[in-house]
């Protein structure tokens, strides 16, 4: 019996079964995709993907919090000492090693997404053990370069894509 079925050549019916199954599966996938993709950000959400801000009023050592894609972005004008500390600490034992110079376009300005890389809370400025930010939710400490130093967050604060349009205007996104 088993030998017989093994030797049997594919019949027209086998062909029909397989083509029907493939057709059905393709059709199901084609219907499923729009139903899944509608969950992704829609056009109106994607349209809000860049903002421009005037940063001329920020004093040295001061910072600004603006909204980009529904998340806060920290723009901090760092003092000379803060820059020095940030660069000196490049050699420290960092959980997510990155040089301060690679995180900024202009040493004076640190621009990071103000969302803790652990579970998305907003860290508080000028708090924590490393002079940068501290996340109150689960205790992550960031330094003045926005790098994770201590706590459960896996990575440094994200640097968003940005450019200086002119001396006073920065464009995020």
């Amino acid at each position: 019996m088993t030998n017989k079925t093994k030797e049997k050549k594919p019949t027209r019916r086998d062909f029909l079964y397989i083509t029907t199954a493939v057709f059905g599966a393709t059709g199901a996938a084609a219907v499923a995709w729009p139903l899944i993709d509608q969950l992704n950000p829609d056009a109106s959400v994607s349209a809000l993907s860049s903002v421009e801000t005037d940063i001329s009023s920020i004093p040295e050592g001061g910072s600004l919090k603006i909204a980009w894609r529904g998340k806060p972005v920290f723009i901090r004008r760092r003092t000379k000492e803060e820059i020095e500390i940030a660069e000196k600490e490049d050699n420290e034992n960092l959980p997510d090693p990155q040089n301060d110079a690679d995180r900024v376009k202009n040493k004076e300005w640190l621009v990071v997404v103000g969302v803790c890389t652990h579970l998305g809370c907003i860290p508080i400025a000028d708090k924590g053990d490393f002079g940068g930010w501290f996340c109150p939710c689960h205790g992550s400490h960031y330094d003045i370069s926005g790098r994770i130093r201590k706590g459960p967050a896996p990575t440094n604060l994200e640097v968003p894509p940005y450019e200086f349009v002119n001396e006073n205007i920065i464009k995020i996104g």
Binding site: I36, K71, P72, P136, P152
Partner: protein, 420 residues
């Protein structure tokens, strides 16, 4: 079931109906004359209580949805509108909000009862697994419902919990965006949560039907854990357990009513009366009380991915219970060693609940870690080891014999001779 009684239609109409759609026969066999062990204690009333909890949540929820607006600009105000303007809106909302807490209270008792009396063991594995599925669906539904209020805790709770998904390597971020419908919790998120929060209770209802079906195939477990042998061991569900269940439900309602009428906000967080603000995180984020033990496990681990895995693992491990605890003796009554570990586990869960509400540092963090280790050790180490080495204490011959013959004396392994 081994029961002599059979439904016989009484009049011409019921005879006619019985041949076409045996609805009355079905109700009679499953609700009225269903043979139930005679020795069930009050811990067995929670299945009934839970069914009514679900019905309460669905009815009040449907009413609330008639007055609620799922939009970020109006959601918070529409809740206040329900509280102030809608006739009896305050009552219906307080029933719904506290009803969720009561639902979880009842489900925890129900689950710990199963854990104590070995209700997950052969032949009730599917019954238990369906129960864990219901529990998971309850957590998801409750979480989404809490977000709809659109207060600060709603918003930041939603942010933290959805970000858990982001911990998945490689695809985490894409799945997170898909889940939120944007780059952060916003209007698309609120809308889909509302849609799903309305849908899931009916899914739960479906799984509850499967759960009860599975229960009616195997029959109830009972405090001795000894299988039902004959009709002497059982009584009909009605009127004996309908009355017992209803009495327990009334007592349960008294407590429920205390919360609704005298302390409706005690189980919530005051920060949720502040409207959601995407730019400010509250200093201290805590989930609802019933999720605190899982939250404590999440925070006990200093690594994001591991924390998330352990938190989900703490529920997933329940699915495997029937195969982790293979001891033939079901009830902890006859398992003196298991009983000690069981109550330690119960205490650990309470402690985790407390720790989940504290700041994750110092002694709290240390205790969270100890408790998390015991939580998993109880299932993965204690259960398999006890299954092999624990010596059960003497058991009665059967359910209805328990008073007469409590000591089998010479019988070396009562479990084998008694279970079927």
């Amino acid at each position: 079931m081994n029961h002599d009684y059979e439904y016989t239609p009484g009049n011409a109409f019921t005879k006619w109906l019985d041949k076409r759609l045996p609805l009355i026969r079905f109700a009679d066999e499953n609700l009225l004359s269903f043979p139930t062990p005679r020795n069930l204690n009050y811990f067995w009333t929670f299945g009934f209580i839970l069914t009514l909890c679900l019905v309460t949540q669905i009815i009040t929820g449907i009413v609330l949805a008639m007055h609620y607006t799922p939009h970020v600009l109006m959601a918070f105000d529409s809740i206040e509108h329900i509280m102030r303007d809608v006739n009896y809106g305050w009552l219906i909302r307080y029933i719904h909000a506290n009803g969720a807490s009561m639902f979880f209270l009842a489900v925890f008792i129900h689950m710990f009862r199963g854990l104590y009396y070995g209700s997950y063991k052969e032949p009730r594995e599917i019954l238990w697994i369906l129960g864990v599925v219901i529990f998971l669906l309850m957590i998801i539904t409750a979480f989404m419902g809490y977000v709809l209020v659109w207060g600060q805790m709603s918003f930041w709770g939603a942010t933290v919990i959805t970000n858990l998904v982001g911990a998945i390597p490689l695809v985490g971020e894409s799945i997170l965006t898909l889940l939120l419908g944007g780059f952060s919790v916003d209007n698309p998120t609120l809308n889909r949560f509302f849609s799903l929060h309305y849908l899931l209770p009916f899914v739960i209802f479906g799984v509850v039907i499967l759960h009860i079906w599975a229960l009616h195939v195997t029959g109830n477990n009972n405090p001795t854990g000894i299988s039902v042998k004959n009709t002497n061991d059982t009584i009909s569900f009605h009127p004996y357990y309908t009355v017992k269940d209803l009495f327990a439900y009334v007592v349960f309602l008294l407590m429920f009513a205390y919360f609704i009428f005298y302390n409706p906000n005690i189980l919530g967080h005051p920060d949720n009366y502040i409207e959601a603000d995407a730019m400010v995180t509250p200093a201290h984020i805590v989930p609802e009380w019933y999720l605190l033990p899982f939250y404590a496990i999440l925070r006990a681990v200093p690594d994001k991915l591991m924390g998330v895995l352990l938190m989900f693992g703490s529920i997933v491990v329940l699915f495997f219970l029937p195969w982790l605890d293979t001891m033939k003796v079901k009830s902890a009554r006859y398992r003196p060693t298991y009983k000690i570990f069981y109550f330690t586990f119960l205490l650990t869960c309470f402690l985790l609940g407390y720790l989940g509400g504290q700041a994750p540092e110092g002694l709290y963090l240390f205790l969270s870690r100890v408790c998390t280790i015991y939580y998993f050790a109880f299932f993965l180490v204690v259960m398999p080891i006890l299954s092999r080495y624990e010596k059960p204490s003497p058991m009665p011959i059967g359910i209805s014999n328990s008073a007469i013959n409590t000591d089998l004396g010479t019988d070396k392994n009562p479990a084998l001779s008694i279970n079927n």
